[in-house]
């Protein structure tokens, strides 16, 4: 019988929730890395027991952790207990936590500054890994989206990381500006049909695409309108919160932006609004049903200054028509006095026949639906604030 594993990153550690395919009873393991912020965890699609985790701290910086047994045990890649801690030529290992921007002229340009909040140029400074996206074909290859915004890749299971510097170096980098939550590269979508195509999104620069495996990039923001920037139709500068796709249809993208839910049918070349009848089109996550490419989920949030559900009612909205027509899903969710937020990386789907939808809240609840969103139950209620949720469907 199939199993489901939910990987939950929180403000104070990681939790792993497991169940059989019925998804009625859940075992909770954790906290792993207690006391640390776990921005994101994700398993390899080709080796599900290989899981990568971004462990961060404002005090002590970035640590990358890896599990080879489904989250039971963890190690920092390259520093296995008992192994030599130095390379044969005497250099210390521990490179797995090292994210150093590539400023070599050979690999793009010596790009060292971006725009600060006050319009001046500011040095690029690494802060943390927001998102880890394992390769669809190789368990040792992983992409990392970081703050300040850049894309890194490992091809040795996380031991060493190298920047795909063409993204920052493609030309608009000096105009990128952080959003209120920092300048993070938070979304990485790998095209299952074209291994050289990758989409990424940055707050508050926008969405970008490469068609050559990360060497060259182009902004893909045409059609986005952001009233809070000097030119609402600018090529870059849009605060994109999340983009999603169905793997069978990688040219169709859905986006939750700082206001507006958007859709592209041409791989991001142009976007149009699909907010339709949503009570508010502000929100953070957006997700696509595992088996229905036109079924999309969002969680409307009251406004950019009030990050909680409107009217204190936690409602997931579902469109079965690819946008514009939305229905509120409320069964099992609190419909009074609820003032949590759902962050951009905190929603995911499983791939069982009856598609499961999962999301975590800043109040520490993880909700699950086993019927495509018609009804919900809380898997856990009292975790630390949830930063990210990923789901693995296991044989």
């Amino acid at each position: 019988m199939s199993k489901v594993r939910i990987l939950v990153g929180t403000k104070k550690g990681a939790f792993i929730l497991t169940s059989d395919g019925k998804r009625a009873k859940w075992d909770v393991s954790g906290p792993h890395f207690a006391g640390w912020e776990i921005y994101h965890m994700k398993g390899s699609p080709v080796d599900p027991n290989r899981i990568y985790a971004s462990q961060t701290s404002s005090w002590f910086g970035q640590v990358i952790q890896r599990s080879n047994d489904g989250g039971k045990t963890w190690e920092q890649p390259g520093t296995r207990p008992g192994e030599s801690t130095t390379t044969p030529d005497g250099m210390p290992m521990g490179e797995s936590n090292k994210f150093v921007y590539d400023t070599s002229p050979k690999n793009g340009k010596p790009l060292t500054t971006h725009m600060w909040y006050d319009g001046t140029q500011h040095p690029w400074e690494f802060k943390r890994v927001w998102h880890l996206e394992p390769s669809l074909t190789d368990p040792d290859t992983v992409y990392a989206g970081v703050e300040d915004a850049a894309l890194f890749r490992t091809t040795d299971g996380g031991k060493t990381w190298h920047e795909l510097a063409g993204l920052r170096g493609h030309g608009t980098g000096p105009q990128w500006q952080p959003g209120a939550g920092g300048m993070g590269l938070h979304t990485i979508l790998l095209d299952a049909k074209d291994p050289k195509r990758i989409y990424i999104a940055i707050s508050a620069a926008g969405t970008f695409r490469t068609d050559d495996g990360g060497k060259t990039w182009q902004p893909i923001n045409q059609g986005l309108k952001s009233q809070y920037i000097p030119d609402p139709n600018a090529e870059i500068g849009h605060c994109v919160y999340r983009i999603a796709m169905h793997p069978s249809r990688p040219n169709v993208l859905f986006m939750q932006k700082h206001w507006d839910v958007m859709r592209s049918d041409n791989a991001g070349k142009s976007w149009h609004e699909i907010s339709g009848n949503l009570p508010t089109d502000f929100g953070f996550p957006i997700e696509v049903h595992a088996h229905e490419p036109e079924t999309v989920y969002v969680v409307p949030i009251k406004s950019d200054s009030e990050h909680y559900p409107p009217e204190g009612k936690l409602r997931v909205y579902r469109s079965r028509t690819g946008g514009n027509e939305w229905e509120a899903l409320t069964k099992g969710l609190p419909q009074r006095d609820c003032y949590v937020n759902i962050l951009r990386d905190a929603m995911a789907v499983d791939s069982l026949d009856a598609c499961g939808i999962y999301f975590g809240t800043t109040g520490g609840q993880v909700y699950a639906s086993t019927d495509s969103g018609d009804s919900w139950t809380a898997v856990v209620r009292d975790l630390p604030a949830v930063l990210s949720v990923e789901v693995q469907t296991l044989p």
Binding site: G35, W36, S57, S58, W59, F60, G61, Q62, V63, Q76, G78, T79, P81, T85, T86, P92, M93, G94, E95, N97, K98, V100
Partner: protein, 98 residues
């Protein structure tokens, strides 16, 4: 022998339960102590000072002999009591946040 006291989170990361001891050759300075610490415990690379610039992370402080050594130069000799092992070199996570 140099004694180094780590903050709790870094003790967990390095898988040590108490203070660590290091053998140093030459001058005992912040730089030489941290170099030796990161060589012995490579998982601590980047957690106390930047991987490249070697600047102390903003929320990390260094204390020894009841003095804040955080703003001392990295090559300034540490007190004799630290060099002799009589007193530990303390790496402290600043009390900050809310």
């Amino acid at each position: 022998m140099i004694r180094v006291v780590l903050p709790a989170h870094l003790r967990t990361l390095a898988n040590v339960n108490s203070e660590v001891t290091l053998e140093l050759k030459g001058a005992v300075t912040q730089r030489s102590v941290l170099d030796a610490l990161e060589t012995r415990y490579p998982m601590l690379s980047g957690t106390i000072r930047d991987h490249v610039t070697k600047q102390r992370r903003p929320f990390v402080r260094f204390f020894a002999c009841e003095q804040d050594m955080s703003l001392e130069g990295p090559d300034t000799p540490l007190p004799n009591a630290v060099a002799s092992g009589a007193e530990p070199f303390l790496i402290v996570g600043a009390i900050a946040g809310g």
